[in-house]
Structures are given as structure tokens and as C-alpha cells.
Symmetry: D2
Subunit: 364 residues, 4 copies
């Protein structure tokens, strides 16, 4: 249950940051669906570092190799396995860190959980690198959803204290989402993007890092997906999205802001538009009672600042029991929030496709 | 998968607001655990309306009847089934609302999902009333956790725009949590509670409702619970907590606030205190990499304002296709956030006990 | 995971033999389905003792009370909870047996598993009585399947060494299955039934018990249900059917007999009949590669002789560590195989409906 | 849910017979366990063809490559992914068979299930080749179990109508099981093995195939593993074992034979031996009420004759709608039962380890 999610569509992720390879098995995809591997590579490239000055210059080429599940280019019903070979073989760079847990990393909690046997190199299975197979799986789901008229896309709505222009989900189009995805920094307002980049750069120069907020939208989602209580859209989305390292909060529609509204402000009036039941406003973010309303899905996720910073930090040497100073070497991202945007999109796509495959909707 | 959660501890909730009875089956409880039914009733009473001027004066006596799973007062290993009979038999009060979906309620999405067959009375299975069996299940878990030195408790950290005094998780004691739980309004600062109550009252007088934020803490949780990626503490907590109607966001530790911090501000330094690895600060909220660190768990959940308000609202009559005005009669809570505090505690307790039962921790 | 099964249709059973009540929660039923409670009672009556000389004269009236999940007589999408009150309150009849495990019962293994806290009365949660809620759940599924043209029914194909007439699945009709179900002993050949009864009676007079084999058929099942490997029809059926106490083996089609056939004998030739792909023979029992072929499902389950016998038996007194003689008082069934027929039908019906709800079949 | 099983130990298998590679992800293994890759290769070799005259001379070298989950030779807690590259790339040998379903194969049912998109080559994901990754996963589990004093091993108890010598589970030792595993044909009585081989050879010469029965034992299993009803040892074992293609029946202890016994014959008396509760006989096969008793586990599985035979067979050409004659070319095994022995052992090992990891046993 650790690195898997999904009910009908089962996604199982494996690999460590510096192991032989990372990858994913996707079991339960609808059949006869073409997988465009070039489009998938392009989607994964959005997650890769080096696209802009906000991420590390370190190069990762995440070439996806399909081991199974496609026949003549289409999903065959068999589990789809995709593998990405790692370039960095196991080194001993991290061996000396075994007893010096990095602040805000999983080093300490993982060592307790796994009795000291977990792979420390680059964070092992806890590495953000594991979001590459998530993107591979979700990217395939996105292609299928797109064909059904569903678009999933997001932007970096806030980063290093700088806000992107607000996006009105009621007017948003799939084309606009696609345009945002093309940009080096996934924002609506490129000006805001430049200010974010400058702020990230400033933090980096101080050996520091920043966080951000990702806002993701789903357009064209049919009404009636999801279930009450624990099988709802929010439950399943949150379960998946919190699987992305560094996510600290998830909210839907007006989210935490709803706590400060009155009912008369927060309630969205139902209206009939071109024969379709819609709401005039979308503070509910497309989900009521755990079930989609047909209105755009609106979800936000908070990304903490990258834990690895160049500044010297205080931490504990567990071997000596003494305080020690830690300097984390290597080229780390001063911000990962922009790279996490396609990861959140991928998680949302996978959950939505899973929701669409729920057989319980059927009236036999 | 709709009304169930848990892996080792499986919780399955049933019932409708105006049906014969509501209840829960809890499968997988540790055996030999005494269930104090009086303490459980007291816990459920915290959720019941009528405790203060913030909730409806409507009386619900949620007497729990145990159908199975206890033998000589102790958990026997068999599934524990608890039932609460409903006093309100099926009426036809809601029949006329079948085609007039209430804003911010699940009426519309549920009718699509269930092809018009769902029980509309009082929201049916979507009613907040279904959190009573959740409290029953979680209340039993709480008793077990308490015996193991784990305390779970929360406060209404914000309501109607009024903040409770901040709680410092590093200094918090189980006794303080217990004291907060005793108060009519679960706050640390009773003065703040009175201001909240006044604000709620003001909204009520205008036929309106308000929301709030619940903050829950877990003390005494051992390090090493949870798993990376999708089986982590946040994933499983969020999946459960979003099962409580009206929750719109969930965050851990610094949460959305972490997005505005720098790494040097957000990273918690590890220290050794009385031989135990701890962190000097607790912005991580007790979880790193999906795994507990042994520091206090800190989680917040946003509660939207009660959707049912006395004010006239615009909505759609799906039969005529026309806009119509809707007045929701009956005694509805102007705020449910304070009643949701024990519900969130219950969900957290159930997930924590489930996490503790994960066999994978074992080093055979 | 102990008393639950199903993927889309989740069935969770609770109760102990002498507890307050037994029951079941069925989550995920298709909506808008009428539940005929009289027909359900008639189905449950087939499981009740006292229908013929083969079972105990002990009376159990298993009146099902619906707590939730029906609205205006139809499934509403909310979990269906059905409860059967127990007449036998907790007694201390079994208390003295706590340390004297009955041979072939779960007394010993359960006491280890549950650290001595399990309810010993009448076998507690291990009692065959728990098949009553299984029948309630499966009986509802059967009604739904029947409406879709699927008939599930079985016979006691062998009992106390006496064979019923063989049933040719290729010629079998739903009417014949219904006729068998009406009989006091569910056999095709009533003569064989009388010989079975005589053999059971003979065993009973010697204070002994007998076993039998149940053969169940499914007619009208569409081709294409199920999945390869671990999600196949056999896997899911076997998982459910072994949930019925006393079942010791499960086989499909030619079953263990296939081990003695040659490929040329066992392979069923495909033919086209009235435009439908069928097989000329049905040694495969309606399932190939875990997936239904559209041919009749054929499954057999072996039922061991009732463990409780009147004869004196040797067993261990765990308190003294000495061998002791055990005489099991009370009116026990000399054979339970005939009562288990509707239980197996119920399990098969529940699994088939669950299989039909698998969303993965969808070509989106 | 198709190619996965397990609760704490999650096993997810991928690949097609002629695809790029086959493999498995094992999530939830206990940590710090050494994986001996040479011993694993030796275990997989028992499944490979070409060990004796009973299987095809076709060579398959199933070299396992570990992609993740091991660190410094030990399980690290991260999912273990093992991959076996295929030598046979996708060919079009099977393309012409697309509309000519092979009798007793999944060709037809899979084509309905997957809307004609499944990979037909060599049976695709339905191929017996997919048991190689099952053996890889189970082989790792076996190594872990062995270290805990648990031995799992089986023999070909019957093949082509020839019985192996009976094995008395009460006297069986781990050494005897190991000796059987070393033999080219896994039997106790090598004479019987030679007669089996002769019978298989005779069938082969007639272009035919044969089936067999596999009997597997588990020694050293602690009492108290498993759960009542649907989470029992039999349920979980059967669910896994039916995942091996060609298995048509599964039974425990006296199995179908128990149906012909009387209670006085079938009941195993409890005794105390060297301070341990045991039974004098072992007709219950080590499981009562779904829970282990500490006595040897005894399970048998029926294997049907290999569906692919050289003899001409009648089948349907779905394109023309006409009957046609089918000759299956290639070097197929005249018997797969002997090769399935390690597969069943692997499935049993995986389920047992999963059962041992059940956290519910814990008395907190």
C-alpha cells in the first residue's frame, strides 16, 4: 500500500533515486487507447530540471521504455510497465549522511520506519525523482482523458511570495491551459513568472530555497463521478496528490478561504445554461458531496520550499549524539514548485480516469 | 469503496439521515481492548447539536447500541458493529425538493450519480448525521490510543473570522487537549470562543451561516508510522478527513503557509532531547516523507459555512427549467465547524490506529 | 479484511452466533433495483435448519431488518445494511469449553489468533450462523442478476457417499434450477435425495455426521467478465466461497478430474450457434483465462462433515494439559452440506455482480 | 486488480509472452532481508522448460534483473522490482490466429474482455510465461520464510494417471522437501516419476498432453495466522493459486475427500506434544476457521492438460463463421504440471509472508 494507489486503475511505482531504474506499472487502463510516446516525453520534460533558472542545471533525461501493456501502439489490457533507467549508479556520497539526518527530509523518519535499511542515496525511494514515473502514468491517462474532451492543467499560482494572475475557472479554456503548459514557467501572466524567477534567484544566491502553490483545473469532467464519504473525488485526489513529496496542503474550490465566507457568499446558485445544469459561480470547485457537478474542478496544493539548501544548517549526528553543521553539496533546485505542476496534473489525471472507470455508476 | 476506509482497520459506515438507523462496522480492531460506552457517549455528545448557541437547538440523542464485536466488554476480534436508531422516520418533507437542488448541497451531483434514486430526505447518506457513526468508530480508537499514551485532540482555531489563541504543539499537553474538549466551544481562549459565538449569532440573525478551521494535534505518536508516496500519514489522513461533509481543505504542519517560507525558515533542525531525536521547531507537523517523526502531529481542516441557510436563495427547478427561490425551513446549524471537531479527531484516531496496525513495520 | 470481500460491491459481515445480532453491509449495489423482501426471506429459509431430517430440528427465524440503503423499496446507492436479531443471548454454556478446543472447530486457532479474547459461544464469529447475512447479501444480488437474465443455482451433487443425478450444464435451464431450489433437499433426483437423507439419518443415529459436495451453475452470464491472473473469476469466486465455514475445496469445470484427462479430451471446441460463439462441450466450466466465455459457469465445493458430533471425542484440556473426553451437547446438524447450497449460490451471486460492475471492461 | 494480489505484501505482475520484458513489483517486503540471487535463479530454473522429457526442449533463460528495492544486497523497504527480458520479440506468428480461438486457451474470452486489443502472441499476458515473475516474487518470500524456520515445498502427487508415493505431512521434513525439489521431476518416489515421464512421452507421441495434481506443504508455520470468513488462509491462498494458468481446483487437507468422511473420521483430535498443542492426525491440513493451527499446511491444486496440442483440433474461424481445423505448431509442453510446482510454492510463500505481516494480530 505504500507506493500504490487507485481502485480500478492501479498505479504502482518503484525505484530509488540512485538505483538501477525507476518505473511504474499501470494496471486497468481502458483498452485500444493509443499512447503517443513523443507527447509523453514532452509531458515528462515539463517536470525535468533545467527548463528555467528556477531549477537546477543538472540534466536528467527521463527516457521512458515501455516493457509491456502496449500492442501495436495501443493499450492491450495488460498492465502497462514503463521504466526509466537511472544514470547515477549507487554511489557512497550519502553514506556519511546516514547518521546525520537532513532537516525537512525523510532521512530520520525513514530510518526508523525501515530499521536503518533504506537506501540513503539521493533520498532513495523518497526522492522527488519518483515523480517521474508518476508523470509517465498520469501522462498516459491525460492523453486518454483529452480524447474524451477532458483537459487537466495547472499553473504556479504563487511562488516565493509572488502571485500569478488569478484564473477564472468559469471562463478558462483547454487552449489556455495548453498555452500555460508550454511556458518555461507555468504561469498565466509571464510578467509574474519573471518576478517569481527573480525571487527564486535571489533566494538561491543566499543559499536558500522557496515554495509555492499549484492550482490545477479540470475542464469537461462529466457530472456524477465520485462517491459520498471516503470514496469521493476529494478523498481520492488528496490521497494521490499527497504522494508527491513536499506537498503540505490540498484544498478544493474556495478551500481554506471558504472558512471565512458566509453561506450566502459561498453557496453557488444552480442555473440552466444551454440545457445543462451549471452553477453561476464555482466556489465549490466542481465537487459537491464528493461527486462532480460538471463544473470545472479547482484544486490547489501547497509546496514547501526545497529542503536541500546550500546554507549551513544545524542538525544532529546520531552517532555522536552531538549537534553538527550540515552543508548539502550538489546542485539542488532552489524551487521545485514549478516542476511539481505536471506531477499534480498527472496525479489528478490518474485519479479522474480511475473515477471514470468506477463500475458502480452503472445502472445495470 | 464509497463509505469505507482503512487498510488493517476497516471502517464501513451506513445509514441515511431519515432512514431507520445509522451505524458502522469496524473490522480489525486489536483484541482485548475495553470499550467504555459511557466515555463513548460523552465523546459523541461533543458532536451533538444543542451544546451552545452556535448550533441548532434541535435535539439528537445518539444512543449507540453494540450489535457485535464485544465479548465481556472487550473487543473480541470479531467486527464491531454499532448502531444508532433514527428518531425521524422517512417523511416526505424533502420530496418536493427532489427537483430543486439546494445550493452547496449534494442534491444535484448525487441525483446524477445515483440516477435519481438516492434518498433526498435530510440529505440521505450525504447528511452530516453520518459523522455520528464515524465518531463512534473513532471514539473507540481514541480509547485504545489513549491507553497507549497517544492523545488526539483539537480546537476550533478560527471561526467566523475570529481566531482562537494559537497553540504551540511543542508545549501542548494531553491535559490541555482534554480541557479544550470539555468546553461548550472547543477553544483554548474562552474569550475568543465568546466572540466566535457572537459572530455566529449575528450571522444566524441574518439567516446566514459561517465556516471555520479545525486544528487537530496528536501527542505521543511513535516515530516510524506510515509509508512513502501514497500510503503516507498525510495521504491516509486526508482520505479519511475529506469524508466529513463540508471539509474543503486539509494541511499539515506549516501547510499552505509553508509555500511562503524559505527553506532556511521551514526546515526544522534535529536535536537530541533526553536521548530522543526531536526537532527544535515543528513546522513539519510531525510527518516527513509520509512517516511520523515522533513530534506532535499538526493538521488543519477547513470547514465551509453550513450550506442550509434561512435566507432565500436562487436555484433551479429542474422540472420546469426555471430559476426559483428557495427557502430552507427547519432548524439548521448556523455553524457546524465546532461540531466537526470531534469528527476530525475521530477520523485521525481511526487512521492512526490503522497505521499502527501496519504489519510492514515488522522486522521479522 | 477479515469479514469483507468484493471490489466494486463491498460486502462486510458482522456478528457472533450468540451476540445481539448478525448482519451485513453491502456497499456499491447498482441503484434503482427493487428488493423483494419476501423473496429474500424465502431464499434465507432454504438455509435455515429444520427443512428436512438432514438438519437439526432447532428453529432459527432469520427475519431480516433493513436499516439503510433502500428508498421507496429500491436500492438508493447508499450502503444497504441488513440486520438479523439473535434469539440466543450470550450464555455461559461455552465458557467451560474455553480451554477444551473442539476438534475440527476454530476454537484453538481462534484463541491463538485473538489472544483468548474471542467469543466462544456457539463459535462466535466463526459460526455457520454468519452465513445468514451472506445469504441476505447474495440473495439481493441474485434478484438483480435474475432481472438481467442470469440464473444461479445449485444442487447437492453428493452427500454421505450418495450421488445426485449428474446435471448437464449444456442443457440446464433456469426453471430446472428453480425447481431444485424448491425441494426440501436440493437435488435433481429426488430418489437420490431420499437415499442421502437415509444415510444422514444413519450417521446421526451413530452420533456422527457427514459431508457432501455442492455443484453450482450460472446461466446467462455474458462473456468477457473477469481478468487474467489474480482478478479472475475463479480467484474471486474461490476467495468468497472459502468464506463459508466447512468448505475444503473448490473446483471449476472438470476440476480435479481435468488432471486425469488428456488435452484432446479436455479441450472444448469452439462453435458458432445461432450467431453466438459457444463451445460444444463445457469442461472449462464457463471460464478460460479467468474470464467468462458465455458458457454456463460450473463450480463445485466440498463440504466437510459437521465437526460437532454427539459421539465422545478425545481432545485436550489446555488448562490441565491432559487428554480429556468431550461430548458436544445440543442439537447439531448431522449434515450441513444441503444448508450450504444457498450460501454458495449467494457467494457466487455476489461475486458475479461485483464482476459485472468492474469498470475496466469499458472501452471509454 | 487484475494482476495483483496481497494485502501487506503487494505483488503486481506485468508483461506479455512476446513483449519486451516481463516482471514484478513487490511492495511491502520486510526490510533487512538478504536476497540470494543465485538461489533465486536456481528456484526459477525449476520452473524453466527443458529439465526433463516432460517439458518442451525450448530454452528460456529467465535472468532476473533487479531494478529497485535492494540496497547493499538487502531489502530496503522500497518496492522490489525484478525484470526478465524476453528473447522472443513481437512476431506475427499469432496474427493469423486472431480470429481462430485455440480451444481451452483464453483467446476468445480475452478478445471479448479486451475488445480485440489484447496481444495474441504466445497468449500475451495470459501466457504461462507470466508465472516466471510470480516465481521471482515468491522465491524471495521463500528465502525470508526459510530464515524464520518455515519450509514450503511440494511434489507432483499425480500426473498422467500415475500417483507419486503419498506424503505424510506429520512426518515430513524440510530436508525431504528440499530433496524433492532437486529432482528433475519433483516426486518423492523416483520410480513413479519415471512412469509419469513415460506416460507423458506416450501422450506427446500422440500429439497430446496430460495434466496432474500438485500437493504443497508448509512446515513450521506458526499457529494463529489468518482470519475468519473472507480473509482466511484458504481464501487468500486460493485467490493467489488460481492466478496460475491451468489450475482448475484447489483443496486443503482432506479436501474433496472430506466430503466422503464422517465427522468421527475427519475430526483431528488435539493433543499436547512437547508442550505444544498439535493434532494427532492432519486431515484439516493446518487450517481451521481460516486460521493456521501450527500443523503442516496441506494444499492440492489440479492442473489441466496443456491446451496446446499437436493434434489437429476443430475450432471456429470467427471471420468466416465456419468450423476450421487448427494445428498448433511450435514446441509446446506435453505437460506443465511439473513446471507448475515451484509456481504454486511461490504463490503459497507470498501469501504466507503476507499473512505473517498482518498487523491485526497485534495485541497492542
Amino acid at each position: 500500500m505504500s507506493s500504490e494507489f487507485g481502485k480500478n486503475l492501479r498505479i504502482s511505482i518503484f525505484g530509488e533515486s540512485h538505483g538501477a531504474a525507476i518505473g511504474v506499472v499501470v494496471d486497468g487502463l481502458p483498452v485500444g487507447e493509443t499512447v503517443d510516446l513523443d507527447a509523453l516525453a514532452a509531458f515528462l520534460a515539463r517536470r525535468a530540471p533545467g527548463r528555467n533558472a528556477m531549477s537546477t542545471a543538472r540534466k536528467e533525461t527521463d527516457a521512458v521504455r515501455v516493457l509491456s501493456g502496449l500492442y501495436q501502439g495501443k493499450t492491450s489490457g495488460a498492465p502497462l510497465c514503463m521504466v526509466i533507467e537511472n544514470r547515477n549508479a549507487h554511489s557512497n556520497d550519502y553514506e556519511r549522511l546516514r547518521h546525520i539526518p537532513r532537516p525537512a527530509h525523510a532521512d530520520y523518519s525513514a530510518s526508523v520506519r525501515y530499521h536503518g535499511f533504506s537506501d540513503p542515496n539521493g533520498g532513495g525511494h523518497f526522492s522527488g525523482r519518483l515523480t517521474a514515473p508518476l508523470c509517465a502514468a498520469g501522462g498516459v491517462c491525460l492523453q486518454i482523458l483529452n480524447r474524451k474532451g477532458i483537459a487537466i492543467g495547472g499553473h504556479l499560482s504563487r511562488c516565493a511570495g509572488v502571485d500569478d494572475a488569478p484564473i477564472d475557472s468559469l471562463r478558462l479554456t483547454a487552449e489556455e491551459l495548453a498555452a500555460v503548459a508550454q511556458r518555461p514557467i507555468p504561469v498565466l501572466d509571464e510578467n509574474a513568472g519573471m518576478r517569481m524567477q527573480a525571487a527564486v534567484q535571489a533566494a538561491k544566491e543566499q543559499g536558500d530555497s522557496v515554495g509555492g502553490v499549484i492550482e490545477v483545473f479540470g475542464l469537461g469532467i462529466p457530472a456524477g463521478l465520485g462517491s459520498p464519504m471516503f470514496g469521493g473525488v476529494e478523498n481520492r485526489l488528496a490521497q494521490a496528490v499527497f504522494g508527491i513529496p513536499a506537498i503540505r496542503g490540498v484544498e478544493f474550490g474556495a478551500g481554506f478561504g471558504a472558512a471565512d465566507l458566509r453561506g450566502s457568499q459561498n453557496n453557488d446558485a444552480f442555473v440552466l445554461q444551454e440545457g445543462i445544469v451549471r452553477t453561476k459561480t464555482n466556489r465549490h470547485g466542481g465537487v459537491l458531496g464528493g461527486i462532480t457537478t460538471g463544473m470545472p474542478l479547482v484544486m490547489r496544493a501547497a509546496v514547501k520550499p526545497t529542503p536541500s539548501i546550500a546554507q549551513e544548517q544545524k542538525t544532529l549526528d546520531r552517532q555522536t549524539g552531538e549537534q553538527t553543521a550540515l552543508c548539502i553539496a550538489g546542485r539542488h533546485d532552489p524551487c521545485i514548485a514549478q516542476r511539481a505542476v505536471p506531477c499534480v496534473e498527472a496525479a489528478v489525471a490518474a485519479v479522474l480516469l480511475d473515477l471514470m472507470l468506477d463500475g458502480e455508476y452503472a445502472r445495470l
